[in-house]
């Protein structure tokens, strides 16, 4: 059985859906998460492309209500790359809402949330205790680590910043890059402005292979993802011991209730890491697992200890 030296309990969180799932399916997904998944925090909102928001936004109030009724905290997560006026205006609207906890994913959101409690998301670059202390001093209560940070960096930051918790991405395809250009549209011979929402065709992203048919990356609109699935189930205890208190799952088009249940058991010390990995493999076997970033190796690598 594991020991947990932290004063804080370990929270299991669900990051915002990165893909362009049809709005009704996305609503049903969140309803099921609300009703069945042992999650503490659920992030809603669009990180990737503002063109997708009009379809899902109308569903957010009822989803938030259902999640809250099920005892889950709701966080509104914002766009990673904010460029045009419409994106700036909607960001401003979100940041000015009362009683809504916001995750900032661009520095513009940090500016709008200054002095109010908020979360700094994984798309804002906090690589060290200097920048962590700066944002914590301006209202950040949680910092979600960038996925390329190794354990040494994580350990060097946890506990060094007062009144701030840290969250690590532990499961799912990792967001690796964001662009002004849409590669989903480009692959289909379209421009971003006339994209026909082709990104909706791929529920876990579009597979990108090398010329030698090696699985390589995933494309999700303007975002580029890892092909492999991050899985830090074997590293959970080390992170708990190191002072990480929040653990993020990225939604994939798999049985996320069971993924959450397995991770919950792991966090509670109620299940063996090897059994968890084995069960995850049967649920999410569409890509290999990776944990290289944590071990200061290429992110695509899987380190077995």
């Amino acid at each position: 059985m594991m020991t947990n030296n932290n004063t804080h309990p370990s929270l299991l969180t669900l990051g915002p859906v990165q893909y362009n799932w049809p709005a009704h399916q996305r609503r049903d997904f969140y309803f099921r998460m609300a009703d069945e998944a042992p999650l503490d925090v659920v992030y809603l909102g669009e990180n990737v492309c503002s063109k997708r928001t009009p379809f899902f936004d109308p569903f957010i109030p009822e989803i938030a209500e259902r999640l809250q009724a099920a005892g889950k905290q709701v966080v509104f997560s914002t766009l990673a790359l904010v460029m045009d006026q419409r994106e700036q205006d909607s960001l401003r609207d979100v940041c000015q809402m009362d009683n809504v906890l916001v995750e900032a994913n661009d520095v513009s959101a940090l500016s709008l949330l200054d002095g109010r409690p908020h979360i700094v998301g994984p798309f804002v670059n906090i690589y060290n205790e200097g920048s962590a202390r700066y944002v914590a001093g301006h209202g950040a209560k949680v910092i979600v680590f960038n996925n390329e940070l190794p354990q040494t960096s994580i350990n060097a930051m946890t506990g060094k910043v007062s009144d701030c918790e840290f969250e690590v991405q532990v499961f799912g395809r990792l967001p690796l890059a964001i662009s002004a250009r849409c590669y989903h549209a480009r692959a289909h011979g379209l421009h971003k402005d006339g994209c026909q929402y082709v990104c909706a065709q791929d529920s876990d992203g579009m597979d990108v292979e090398t010329l030698e048919d090696q699985e390589f990356l995933g494309v999700n609109g303007t975002q580029t993802q890892s092909h492999s699935l991050c899985d830090l189930s074997a590293e959970i205890q080390a992170m708990q011991d190191g002072g990480v208190t929040r653990f993020r799952l990225w939604p994939q088009w798999v049985d996320m209730v069971t993924v959450a249940t397995l991770y919950r058991k792991l966090l509670d010390g109620a299940m063996d890491t090897r059994d968890v990995r084995q069960q995850l493999q049967t649920i999410a076997g569409f890509a290999p697992f990776a944990n290289g970033f944590f071990h200061q190796q290429p992110g695509a690598n899987l380190v077995i200890q």
Binding site: D106, V107, N125, E148, A177, I178, L211
Partner: protein, 329 residues
């Protein structure tokens, strides 16, 4: 037309610095020989002594020196970055180019008289972000991300209280700068943490059948038939398979070149043009800088620009306007 466009030119060595100054640079930017800057390549960059000499030489020619300290300091080991800022200040650099909030905060508090520029690695792409860096740290200039179109730049400049510097020529990131871990996914080395992208130490060329295959880490980035020029395997400029076809999915191996659109940039209110290429040799620097010097002078005098189109210096021999033209998306 108001002020003329300032030319900010790269130098990876003292020889390249001299070439840039001779060719008409207004400013030369450079980095220290370690992981504190985003061109941390073997055999490149400046020692403290070399920087001291560089500043003395450049100032004698009325040219300014900016020092790029634009990687993100490693957690638990901030000293090398703090010392880089301290030394740049002590040696008399005209500005430092920074990306990390913690380092900006340190620089502002420790050296209030040091001029701070915001690196492109900070990915500040809108007025709110740029305003934040200005208000929080007193940043005087922003190097704009290569994600913005001419129209977006024009609109942006009207809304921000700081000078702008835009990339005019050279290598081009197609991803938002400072927000890309593709290189570390494949090699374990990232622009943000190590100051390198697709590093040569992880590159292999292999003859497989009739093709010369270029690899980065364990992944094939491109393959070249006999007689085809084999390019460097920068991850996002490779050929891949997606949606049932093989293509340069992210971007062709092209270079950015806005030499034909300087009037648009000047008219939009841009302060400075940045030429990429601290990893390039002195001959390259001399040719690009002198060409842009003529172009800027031609624009100012109203005489126009009939210099070389610089095509032979571009990656893959091809130019692009990148995101400056909205159709790029």
């Amino acid at each position: 037309m108001s002020k003329s466009l300032q030319l900010v030119c790269p130098a990876g060595t003292p020889a390249a610095l001299e070439a840039a100054v001779e060719a008409g640079a207004d400013v030369v930017y450079l980095g220290f020989r370690d992981e504190t800057n985003a061109r941390n390549f073997p055999g490149l960059n400046f020692s403290r002594t070399e920087l001291k000499d560089a500043i003395a030489y450049a100032h004698s020619k009325n040219v300014e020196i900016y020092v790029a300290i634009n990687t993100f300091p490693e957690a638990g080991r901030l000293d090398p970055w703090h010392e880089a800022v301290d030394d740049a200040h002590m040696l008399g650099a005209d500005a430092v180019i920074l990306a990390d909030m913690g380092l900006l905060d340190y620089a502002k508090n420790t050296h209030p008289d040091l001029r701070l520029h915001l690196s492109v690695q900070a990915s500040a792409s809108n007025p709110e972000s740029i305003g934040f860096y200005h208000q929080a740290f007193g940043v005087k200039r922003v190097v704009l991300p290569r994600v913005l179109s001419f129209d977006q730049i024009r609109t942006l400049i009207r809304k921000i209280p700081v000078e702008t510097e835009v990339f005019a020529f050279g290598g081009m990131c197609v991803m938002a700068e400072g927000r890309c871990s593709l290189s570390s996914y494949v090699t374990g080395c990232s622009p943000n943490m190590n100051g390198v992208c697709s590093p040569a130490s992880h590159v292999k060329y292999q003859q497989i059948g009739p093709d010369l295959v270029s690899k980065l880490g364990d992944f094939t980035i491109n393959a070249f038939a006999d007689g085809e020029a084999a390019g460097y395997p920068t991850l996002c400029k490779g050929r891949f398979q997606a949606a049932g076809k093989t293509s340069y999915l992210f971007e062709e191996p092209t270079s950015l070149n806005v030499s034909g659109n300087l009037a648009e940039l000047a008219d939009a209110g841009v302060t400075a043009l940045k030429i990429e290429g601290r990893q390039r040799g002195k001959a390259y620097v001399a040719e690009v800088v002198s060409s842009f010097r003529k172009a800027v002078d031609g624009l100012e005098s109203g005489m126009g620009f009939d210099g070389t189109p610089l095509e032979d210096l571009s990656e893959g021999g091809r130019d692009t306007l990148g995101a400056f033209h909205k159709s790029w998306r």
